[in-house]
Structures are given as structure tokens and as C-alpha cells.
Amino acid sequence: MSVQLWTYIIVGLSFALYIGIALWARVGSTRDFYVAGGGVHPVVNGMATAADWMSAASFISMAGLISFMGYDGAVYLLGWTGGYVLLALLLAPYLRKFGKFTVPDFVGDRYYSDTARLVAVVCAIFVSFTYVAGQMRGVGIVFSRFLEVDINTGVVIGMAIVFFYAVLGGMKGITYTQVAQYCVLIFAYMVPAIFISLMLTGNAIPQLGFGGTLADGSGTYLLDKLDGLSTQLGFGAYTDGTKPMADVFAITLALMVGTAGLPHVIVRFFTVPKVRDARKSAGWALLFIAILYTTAPAVASFARVNMIETINGVDGQGTLRTEAPSWIGNWEKTGLIKWEDKNGDGRMFYAKDERNEMTIDKDIMVLANPEIAKLPAWVIALVAAGGLAAALSTAAGLLLVISSAISHDLLKKVVMPNITEKQELLFARIAAAGAIVVAGLLGIYPPGFVAEVVAFAFGLAAASFFPAIMLGIFDKRTNMQGAIAGMLTGLVFTIGYILYFKGIFITPMAENIPANWLFGISPEGIGSVGMLLNFAVALVVSRITPPPPAEVQAMVDSIRIPRGAGSATHH
């Protein structure tokens, strides 16, 4: 059977599964719609969180990015996992005890202010739309590469699927489809990784093969071989970084704190029955995430060795194009590999310096792995289904945040508090449907700055939500004035810095190079400085303005004590 037929079958089956779950998980109340009724088992929630978290970027692009960055790839690996420690220790159990539906709910109630609530609503919507645009694009790209349908048709099909289970089933539908999507995506990621590890190192566990010796009998460690190859080709040793240490530190911190502050991740911990389930669930979530995140750097190094040896030849003299394996030709057709025979010898060569004749897209490292490892057609189809699962699961979680921010935080809590639960649920569905259409449009007409705004999403979450929520729990004295001043300072500083160098909507005001950066910190890492500013301003302003009212202080006392956590309640 051809790859394409296999892909239709496997992707079709996975979609049928998601739709089946959606039909089973229809909901009738806002509690079901926002927090899946608050009765999700911690292991199930952990798995759903993992799928929610791992996006098209984690699945398709991350290993490739690391492959080209070497050691510096650690900023993503540490940043996108370490945030869960912060989430588990500092936020999740307390927010679960607080027991309402959304992040703006907490910010608005804790700081007894609709202004604070609105700042949170705007941030939540902005961060989520930023993210969701990338997911829809990812869906379109997978469709176009593996099924040879037009990208736009792919986006519309993806929209229809998400529409079905997000609008019908809300958080409940999303949670159970995410469990299925996690299984699909992790299987699709691990199968090629295991085979490629076996091929290169003779070890079936990629994490061990990563630190093991090559299977060619030379006794050389894989990473030593890679360091040697990279140095020869002018890239510098793979296991050494090229970014300045201050920047690696700042980016890692911004991504960690941003992860802990992302509303679509936080809200997942509102769905478990108990405070202790929130803690346990964070452990499961990170375990499920770690399976992929510890495999990705191994895949990155395997793919790098493979790629260099295939292109440059085992002897390092370049491979004749006519003798290259077929996957090179296949991916040349998609434009992801380009070869320009500069010296006219008919041989390909890849290097950092002027000898280089290749342009290689980073996404190829995961997408082409099955072909490089000569795996059967069904494995390639599986990778397509996995990429779609990763993109759809993340998109759905984000759409729910947008929908609840509009129907619950904006309409019910501010604009029209008198609507009934039935009406609120209807508005939630309309908002979800509207958000899907906007997300789809962003996928079809991607604004040129999608890549740039990812720094925004994490920077904003780090500089706004995280300090406000953390102080709300750990510092009883933080009041409305402090929290609002802190969030605004963090936001304005972070947005300003990113715009200054990246110039989204405007022309950049300075060249984006280390010499111009504040403390040597790039726009990607500046959220960590924004966060510190937010903390500092909030603490100082709170102490020169009146303390929060007694009932708010009592609320802080109550969220610190686990006893008495009912399931998430309406108010």
C-alpha cells in the first residue's frame, strides 16, 4: 500500500475516534463546559495536559531546532518542562482550592477589581490567539505534505473537527479527545525514534542511545562523533553552546515562568476533584511530557549525525547527488531541502562555512526520520496522524480559554451578570465557534509575524499572570493597586522591548543583536526581566496603599488550606 493510502486510513481512523469521543462527551452545564464537571481523574488529566501542552511545534519542530542549536536547545527542553515544577509547587493546588473556572476569575476575585479581571481577559485572549494561529497552520502543513491537499482545505478540515468536539463537549469533550490524541502522538513520536536509535547505536531506548556508542563497532560515543563532525564543518562542538550564558539563563527562565503562567495549562488543574489530585496530576502531566522531551534531544543528535553522513558521505568528501538516498529527492520536491552545486563537482556538501551547498529546513528532522531510517509506509502515516493530534489537541485547549474568557469573564462577570446558566452556555458555544473561525482565518492568512509572537506569548504570560497569581497566594498584603501596577509594568516593559527589536507592526528601532540588548538578554528572554519588574512594582505599590479588604485576606487563608475544597463551583 502506498504512503498516501496509509495516511488516509490512519488519519481517518484517528479523526473518527475523536468524533466518537465528542459525541459521547456532550455537555449540558457550564460546569461541564468549563471544567469538565470537576471530576477528571488525575492521571487522565495529566495525559490531557500533556497533549494540551505539546503542540505542533513540540512534535514537528523541536527536535529539528535542537539539532541545529546543539547545547543551546536546552532552553526549550528546560524551559518547557521546568515550568511544571513551578506550576505544581506554587500555583496548581491553590488555584484548585480556589475552585472557580478561569484564570481571570482568580485575578478578578483576588484583587477585587474588574480592571484586573479585564487585564487578565485581554492577556488570556491575546496569548491564546497567538498560539492557536500556529496550530492551525501546523494542521494545514501536515495535510498538504502528507495528503497532498491544499493547505487551506487542510485548515478547514481541522477547524471542522475541532468545532465538533470543542463546541459540543467543551472541556469534557476536549479532555477525553486529548487523552486519545496523547496516545496517538506519543506512539507516532516514539516508533521512529526507537528504530533510528537502534540503527545508529544498537540501543532500543533513545535516551540511552543518546549517551551510548555507535553501532558501527568503532566504540566511539555518538556525541563525541557529533562534536568531531560539527567542529570539522565549522559549527563548533555540538555539546557547547554559542549563545551567551546570560541569554540562555534568561530565555530558560522566561519559558519556565511563561509555561506556569499560560492560562490553557493552568485551567486544566481546575478539572480534578481534589487539591491533592492537582499536585499528583502535575506529576503525571510532566511524566507524560518528559517521555517526548527526553526523546527529542536524542532524536536531534541522531538526525544530525545521519544527515551529515548522508550528505557529506562517511569519508566527508561529499556524496554524489546521483547516489543519494531517495528521501533527499522526495524532500527536495517540497523545498525543504535545497542543493546548489556551487563547485560543480556533482557532490552535495553541508558545512557552516563557504563549502556549504545545502539549505535544510529544521522541520525535516522529525518528518523525514521514518524515511531516513527506511521504516515502512505505515510509520510515515503515523507521523502525519501524530502531528495532527499534537496540533488539534493544543488548538482545542486554547479555544476553550478564549471561549470561557469571553462568555464567563467578560459577559457573565462584567457586561451582563444576569444571564442564566443556559444562556451563558450558549454564549460559551458561540464564542468557541467564533474563535475557531478566527483561528482558521489566521491559519489560512498567516500574519507574517507568527514566529515572532511566540516570544510574546511566553513573555506576556511570564510578565503578567505568573507574578499576579503567585503573589495572590503567597503575599496576603498584595492588593488591587499593586497587582494592576505590577501587571501593567511587566506588560508594557516586555511588549515595548520586543517591539523595539522585532518591530511587529512598526519598524524595529534597533538592530536585534547582542550588543544592543539590555544585560545581553534577547527579546525571547526578556519576559524574565518583565516578571521581576512586575514582582518589584507589585510588592512596593501594595505596601504604600491600603491592605486588601478582610474578606479577601480570609479568602487567601482559605486557599492555603486544602481542607474544604469542593469541586469547582459556580458563584
Partner: protein
């Protein structure tokens, strides 16, 4: 329901103590071993890994997972000790 209540205040202190301890480990394995001291640790080998590189791309993640499970387990015990556990 107030930290003026002695049991609750003690519980909160025990919670903070555990939290700071675990955050210190969190910082040490990621920012410490994986970034600040990665170059020094790289002179030590663990199979094919240089140690600093290992922490940055593998080790810290394993420790993160262990930290959260340890925290969840330990907090259940602390909650019972101070009689603030659920049901």
C-alpha cells in the same frame, strides 16, 4: 479558616519549608548544573555525555518529574500531620 489558627500557621510554614527546599533542587539541576556550571561539569563524563550537557538536555527533566512526585507524596503526609487534609 485563618492562619492565625496555630495549626494552620504551622502547616503553612511546613509547606513553605518543603517548597523552598524543592525549589532549591529545581534551580540547582537546571540553572546551576545545566547552565551556570555547565562548562565546569563538562569535564566530567557520564558514559557518552559530558555532565553539564547531560543536565541541560536530560538530567534536569528527570529530576523535575521526581520533584513533583516527591512533593505530592510529602504534602499528603504533611496535610495529615497538621490535620488539614481533605475529607
Amino acid at each position: 479558616m485563618s492562619t492565625t489558627n496555630k495549626g494552620h500557621a504551622d502547616f503553612w510554614r511546613a509547606n513553605l519549608r518543603l517548597m523552598f527546599m524543592l525549589l532549591a533542587v529545581w534551580f540547582a539541576v537546571s540553572f546551576g548544573a545545566g547552565i551556570l556550571f555547565a562548562d565546569q561539569l563538562n569535564s566530567i563524563r557520564l558514559f557518552g555525555f559530558k555532565l553539564g550537557f547531560f543536565f541541560a538536555q536530560q538530567g534536569a527533566i528527570y529530576v523535575f518529574v521526581a520533584l513533583i512526585y516527591f512533593y505530592a507524596w510529602r504534602m499528603n503526609k504533611i496535610e495529615r500531620d497538621y490535620d488539614v487534609h481533605e475529607d
